[in-house]
Symmetry: C2
DNA sequence: CTGAAAGCGCTTACAG
DNA sequence: CTGAAAGCGCTTACAG
């Protein structure tokens, strides 16, 4: 015999009230045609008993688990907390729970993560794919968050426009020689951002690009970026493709006695947690995670409701490029962060 | 009539093979007493059909959802990605999925988050409580990750010992006057860490403490910490209670022309993502998230298996204080972070 | 307005 | 070694 739940169920409520389970179900869901008074009595009784409907029973009956999956290439990446938070909020608002899965390490791990979520019965999932991977068949609707220039994408920040926003900002500050600092030339995001910066340069401006990974391959991990020399060569602006690289640039410049922002400007991307905290505070370009998450989740949910959850299709959104927002900072401010503990 | 799944189920496999569902179930689970050959044939057929067992059916029958909850006070906090990643890994290893819930903003949000997870049918949950809250009744086993000095705690990093490790480190570098830099004097974590530092000072060493929140209340958000003056007063070491504050201190010192580490040392806590990346790299003390997560999850799972999942009890662990680890850095290194996109 | 009944997919105790 | 049957808790189409 299957194990009985320790909590109350519909049947318990029904018998203790002398009505049928159908009536209780209808009363609690508000759907049924149950008299006002009876419904009220049932709701009260259920509440007093601390009744919590069984997801398993409901899911089995309706075929809907009420859960979505979120696959991240590396939860520990500083970019993802904001995304995860936004996704969790959007999903909760839409009445769904979120199961997380980390595809850290390899494409194989990504496939396993996806399969785990399928086995857990998610109705759909949001995937931030590992670089260079294309999500093929997941046997449920999938919303992909990636660069807009990646084929098979549901929604993305407009990294190219974000790059242009940086170029505009630097142009208005009067900079002529820009050093773009990226980590990895194989990254679509970084390439889009770098391309955006270059395309936004105005007459008389020029740029060069420093890829840290290449530099470190030659000179060893953690080597200086040699920015002091770049300043001597005439670069006055250092446009990092992520706040992490911006931080590295800023501290190296300051360590070498270069006054930021008087002598050189440093900008970043992503508005990571530390960008308002450092001295001087970092000008950066932020992805609108709330909008991205809302689009991803609402498109996903709409697809599920239309097509069901067993079709392995890529979800599309009406607007798939979300503009990035320049956050120009001059002085340090407080972190938005309260101490939670 | 309830909606049929589009995918294959046990019954489909059974009829197409001319055996009973019981036999298919037994063969696939490996539990039953099914002949080797038949079991093999069934497994092959199930695989070729792409059979994925229904969690809903299984959960309803066994009373076990196979899902745990994770409640975080603020997913966007830089400390939590590592924790979430470690929890996800430990839970996956134990055969559980992880539903996340953000209790951002208020105690009410925390209660709602817990209730949402209960409604989703989690068998137990890991909670990092909001500061000052005590988790009372959650109607399922709960593992609490908090400071060791908080009552009603399952497992915690030993922040006091971590503070002593910083004091030791600074003592060995020959520092005498230590400025402890915290944000919020109401934080248990920060107080434990500060207390640990103070208790680890040796003869001839002394400390003062700067609480940023108090300073900003007087002088405005984002005001300078005035560390240059502190250097003049004779402080040579700045021991921040988090890497975020350490970063603020480091950049302010550098901006003001103070050579770190030649003139002043800066240390932090938590080994956040940027600590190896800044120049000079940050010495810090790290929580052992892997161990903490493993203890939390294994204690939780053990409790669930022993007591079931409908008792609202606080899980206890054998070892509840996990030592922190000093990471002494002298020069910058690469971030452990690969570009995922 | 209310109830009896079917059935979602699974596992397990029991019978053969 | 294999199968028939019960039942986990729910929702819904149908009957009254």
């Amino acid at each position: 015999m299957p194990p009985a739940r320790s909590g109350p169920n519909l049947s318990r409520i029904a018998t203790s009230l002398g009505v049928s389970v159908a009536t209780v179900s209808n009363a609690l869901s508000g759907k049924g045609r149950v008299s006002e008074q009876l419904a009220e009595r049932i709701k009260e009784h259920a509440a007093s008993l601390g009744y919590v409907p069984s997801q398993a029973g409901r899911a089995l009956r309706t075929g809907r688990s009420g859960v979505l999956g979120l696959v991240l290439p590396d939860i520990a990446n500083p970019l993802f907390p904001k995304l995860a938070q936004a996704i969790e909020f959007a999903a909760t608002t839409a009445g769904y729970g979120v199961l997380i899965a980390d595809s850290r390490g390899s494409v194989g791990a990504q496939t396993e993560a996806i399969n785990r979520l399928i086995e857990r019965g998610v109705e759909g999932m949001v995937i931030v794919p590992r670089r260079g991977t294309r999500i093929s068949a997941a046997s449920c609707p999938v919303a992909v968050i990636d660069t807009a220039s990646t084929p098979g994408n549901t929604v993305a920040a407009d990294h190219i426009q974000g790059g242009r926003a940086i170029a505009d900002h630097l142009a208005e500050l009067g900079h002529k020689r820009i050093l773009i600092i990226g980590n990895n030339p194989g990254s679509n995001v970084q390439n889009d951002r770098a391309g955006g910066i270059r395309s936004g340069l105005r007459a008389g401006m020029s740029s060069a690009t420093l890829w840290i990974e290449r530099l470190e391959r030659d000179r060893g991990d953690g080597c200086p970026l040699g920015l002091k020399e770049k300043v001597k060569e005439g670069f006055t602006a250092f446009a990092a493709l992520s706040d992490l690289q911006a931080l590295r640039a800023l501290t190296e410049l300051q360590r070498d006695g270069i006054d930021v922002p008087a002598t050189a400007s440093v900008t970043g991307f992503d508005d990571l947690i530390w960008s308002p905290v450092v001295t001087p505070a970092l000008t950066t370009v932020a992805m609108d995670m709330g909008t991205i998450a809302t689009i991803a989740i609402s498109s996903l949910v709409r697809t599920i409701q239309t097509m069901g959850s067993r079709e392995g299709i890529l979800v599309t959104a009406d607007a798939d490029r979300v503009p990035m927002r320049l956050i120009a900072r001059q002085s340090s401010g407080p972190s938005a962060l309260a101490d939670p503990l």
